[in-house]
């Protein structure tokens, strides 16, 4: 559970920081690094990454939309066949979640590929240096 939270926080904070200066895919290196460095089962790793990406993008979009009183999301919604602002926020959050989730998962499984664990792939183990 501790590593789940650690991964979640790492992706959230790293994701936030990466967005100053890195294009939209900033979550990818952050997720890969978090997955590589912090041990989790694949499901947990994915979930932690997904949740962090989902919340980061979702809340950020929500905050901007709220301050804007939905002026822009109403117009963008029309560009996409009349989607509402909540749907746009949900799409944004899902994109952030999926990218971050798969990035953490890839990082984690990539680590396993490079450094095969001794007893079965997902036995509990310490984090290696």
């Amino acid at each position: 559970m501790k590593n789940f939270i650690l991964t979640f926080v790492a992706v959230l904070a790293g994701g936030l920081l990466s967005h100053w200066g890195v294009p939209w895919w900033g979550l990818v290196p952050v997720g890969l690094a978090a997955g590589w460095l912090i041990r989790n089962t694949p499901a947990r790793g994915f979930a932690a990454g997904f949740l962090a990406g989902f919340l980061l993008w979702g809340i950020w979009a929500f905050a901007l939309d709220h301050a804007n009183e939905g002026i822009l999301s109403a117009r963008i919604g029309m560009l996409f066949q009349g989607l509402g602002n909540w749907t746009l926020i949900l799409i944004t959050a899902l994109l952030g979640g999926l990218v971050a989730g798969f990035a953490v998962l890839s990082g984690s499984l990539g680590y396993d590929l490079a450094f095969p664990p001794k007893k079965g792939p997902y036995a509990r183990r310490r984090r290696r240096r």
Partner: protein
């Protein structure tokens, strides 16, 4: 095994990143890459301005080349009031501010006139780019720029402006890029003085580019001279020209003798030519007037202006106040140019309407070789200059296009089946501007009196305008300004013979002989795109003149005493149409009532009670339009048949149609060609009524209401519905003083009372910010539609207190 597991995670990731990174194709449009577009850190969400705090105010910047601090005060209309110690500093801050609110618009407008849209949009705009280049606009701007470089102060002004725009562009990040760039996948191009000249050329071309030469030539060939004169007279005796004849032209000796042109026009026996040209694209017009203190309640003159142009978001104009040691003035600018176009200062106010003289002609060439490089002029072979236009196209190879330039001008159409193929184009906007023109016109901002105004307006150059004027010391005036070719009688109405140099324009009408009036005893001056003068004016001219708004405005002004700002509003917002009043009278007179059934009589009585006002919730205006149109089309089936065969042909003007209905109901033109019997006006009018009634019966009553029937839309510049306003309900019509048609109308309603202090009102259908994510994008639209105005905040100095001030900022020197 582990590899497979890894790939199960990595391949979806790679796929996802790829899918979100490539622009999507939807039909012929591309949508942005979804990852970048949806990212709340760099995508569209970043353009969502906070609705409460005035996020729309540009961030305060240091501008390296500023000579001193520049204060900018923002009011609640998001209008900047710029206080600078130097005109170039003022220009630089304008550049920064225009860019921060309207960068995409500036970029697109300048690209459009440069024929460089395809670079960023793709093959879709290639033909438009090719045509504007072949019409010689970029060529002319190159020449203008060469000329302007002889005036160091003009260059400095334009360079300062460009530096301001570029300072804004340089601080942009992928996140703060204007929304349209994110959507359309390109980046803003840096600004330059030439790009400002392209924006100027765009305005001149939008207002001056019109000619009916081809259609007139074809009509003359088909109908012969007598019928031609019968169908298309130049002068409507009912109209009230802008400048009446008071004997002021008696002494003018025109530069050419007024002889009727005979041999010079293209031969009348030539077969009609095919054309895809639209017969009438001329909607741009405007109203302006000034009333003297003798007619106003306050005793101060009042100047009014509403400029009718295509209505778009972002709006064509930007509103601002500029104060420098030389002047303190308020008004509208075209983003891209650091000059007030229309406005006022503490001493004078001025306003424009378009002057509809035709200033473009076509000359048929005679080539002496198959390769079309040499043409005949006065019996001598002349070599055409070849200019190669290279048009870069996004996602496709560049296109090279060779344009032949003759002594007349460029050969515009190279398609062999185009009727103007082998014709050279002579256009007043091709003449290079004088080096100091922009500066000259800048001086209108510092005008103190009539003389200053007269000195400044020739700076408008080829932009032909009726310029109204009022001053605080009580003067009112109106001047017709522009470069108007001196023509022989009849010259330029038809495609001309390009083998004789004698057919060239004999110069331009001298400014001192252009129609003008000052302080007339009637106490008002006005214009609404009608004829400049009665036919007694010694120079011949042609054009597309409006016959409807001018008559109405004249009647209203003539009968008005004790004028207030509210009575001025009532003219600007007047939905009455003189064309409808005349048309309705003629139609009702000719319709055969005994042939109408009971349900048709219901429509008839609605029309009989109609007062020719295009009110938004009435159905009579819609009925009238349908009736008038169908009667018109059936009457002119001779022309309609030609048009269907893609032959450009003149249609008689509406006022002439009404006149013929009233006075010549047995005219052969009322006979329909497709029927064996011989119809007269009453038959056509009644048949038109049946058609209208049949159509009206099928329509639900709410779609018969004028505002729905008209289908008003306020479209985004790039035609994106999502950024347009499609829900605005307005009255008025093309021929009403309140000239709102479906996508065209009053772009800046302004009323200025020249008292102490000055009181000014204004409104436009848009908002100061060009950002669709800003509440200042369209915040004036509803007020404009309702007919409300805003009181304009005119500050005497930067420190002045005013409850409507939102924020103050200072731009400083620095890097």
């Amino acid at each position: 095994m582990r590899l497979i597991r890894f790939l199960f995670a990595f391949l979806p990731l790679a796929g996802l990143v790829w899918a979100l990174s490539v622009p999507l194709k939807a039909g012929d449009k591309t949508l942005p890459a979804l990852g970048r577009f949806f990212s709340p850190f760099s995508g569209f969400w970043q353009n969502a301005e906070s609705a409460n705090a005035p996020d729309a105010i540009p961030i305060q910047a240091k501008l390296p080349a500023l000579k001193g601090p520049v204060e900018v005060v923002w009011d609640d209309m998001m209008v900047p009031h710029i206080f600078a110690g130097d005109p170039n500093d003022a220009a630089m801050v304008q550049g920064y501010i225009h860019a921060s609110h309207r960068l995409f618009q500036m970029d697109i407008v300048s690209r459009q006139t440069a024929g460089r849209l395809s670079e960023v949009i793709g093959p879709r705009t290639l033909e438009a780019d090719r045509l504007i280049r072949r019409r010689g606009l970029p060529w002319a701007v190159e020449r203008n720029w060469k000329s302007v470089q002889e005036s160091p102060r003009t260059v400095q002004l334009l360079e300062a402006y460009a530096a301001g725009v570029n300072a804004y562009i340089d601080q942009l990040s992928p996140a703060t890029l204007p929304l349209e760039y994110k959507l359309m996948n390109f980046e803003p191009e840096r600004w330059s003085p030439e790009r400002s000249l392209f924006v100027v050329a765009n305005m001149i071309d939008a207002l001056n580019n019109r000619d009916n030469d081809l259609a007139a030539t074809n009509s003359l060939a088909v109908f012969g001279r007598d019928t031609f004169n019968y169908l298309y007279p130049n002068w409507n005796a009912k109209q009230t020209p802008i400048i009446p004849d008071t004997g002021q032209w008696a002494d003018i000796q025109p530069l050419v003798r007024q002889e009727t042109v005979s041999g010079q026009t293209a031969p009348g026996s030539a077969p009609p030519e095919r054309s895809e040209l639209s017969p009438n694209r001329d909607l741009n017009g405007s109203n302006n007037w000034a009333v003297a203190g003798s007619r106003t309640r306050s005793g101060a003159p009042i100047l009014c202006n509403d400029t009718h142009l295509p209505l778009r978001l972002p709006h064509v104009w930007y509103v601002q106040q500029i104060q420098t040691p030389q002047f303190n003035s308020y008004g509208i600018v075209v983003p891209g140019v650091p000059l007030l176009a229309i406005g006022f200062n503490s001493d004078v106010a001025w306003g424009f309407t378009n002057c509809s003289h035709e200033v473009a002609d076509w000359y048929r060439l005679q080539w002496t070789d198959g390769g079309k490089t040499t043409y005949l002029l006065d019996g001598q072979p002349r070599k055409a200059e070849l200019r190669v236009e290279e048009i870069r196209v996004k996602g496709a190879p560049a296109v090279r296009d060779t344009v032949r330039y003759t002594d007349w001008g460029p050969v515009v159409y190279d398609q062999p089946d185009h009727p103007l193929h082998d014709c050279a184009y002579r256009y007043v906007a091709h003449d290079p501007m004088k080096p100091e023109s922009l500066y000259e016109f800048l001086n209108i901002s510092s005008a103190r009196n009539y003389d200053d105004y007269r000195k400044a307006i020739p700076g408008l150059e080829a932009l032909s305008q009726n310029v109204a004027f009022a001053s605080r010391n009580g003067a009112i005036a109106l001047t017709v300004q522009g470069k108007f070719p001196v023509r022989q009688n009849g010259q330029g109405r038809f495609v001309q013979d390009g083998t004789a140099w004698a057919n060239n324009w004999a110069g331009y009408i001298p400014a001192s002989q252009l129609p003008a009036m000052r302080n007339p005893s009637r106490g008002f001056v006005y214009s609404a795109n009608q004829h400049s003068t009665p036919p007694t004016y010694p120079y011949y001219y042609i054009g597309n003149f409006d016959h409807s708004r001018g008559r109405r405005i004249y009647q209203r002004l003539e009968n008005m005493r004790d004028i207030t700002i509210d009575s001025m509003k009532s003219i600007q917002l007047d939905n009455y149409s003189q064309r409808a009043a005349d048309g309705l009278h003629a139609l009702l007179r000719r319709v055969k009532r005994e042939q109408l059934n009971d349900s048709e009589k219901k429509w008839l009585s609605a029309l009989e009670q109609w007062d020719a006002r295009y009110q938004p919730d009435q159905i009579a205006p819609s009925l009238f339009e349908m009736w008038f149109d169908s009667t018109y089309v059936h009457t002119w089936d001779e022309m309609e048949n030609l048009r269907r065969q893609k032959t450009a042909v003149l249609f008689p003007e509406h006022w002439r149609f009404c006149e013929l209905l009233e006075t010549d109901s047995a005219s052969v033109f009322f006979d329909e060609l497709s029927t064996p019997r011989r119809e007269e006006a009453g038959d056509i009018v009644t048949a038109g009524f049946h058609k209208m009634a049949a159509r009206a019966e099928k329509m639900p009553s709410d779609s018969l209401q004028w505002h729905t029937f008209k289908g008003f839309v306020l479209k985004h510049l790039a035609m994106l519905d999502a950024f347009s306003r499609l829900d605005v309900s307005v009255g008025g019509s093309r021929n009403s003083p309140n000239a709102i048609s479906s996508n065209h109308g009053p772009t800046w309603r302004m009323i200025v009372e020249m008292g102490a202090p000055i009181r000014a009102l204004g409104v436009y259908p848009g908002g100061q910010s060009g950002n669709p994510g800003s509440r200042y994008y369209d915040n004036f639209v509803d007020a404009w539609a309702r007919g409300d105005y805003f009181d304009l905040v005119f500050l005497s100095q930067s420190g002045e207190q005013n409850p409507r001030i939102l924020a103050r900022q200072t731009f400083t020197h620095g890097s």
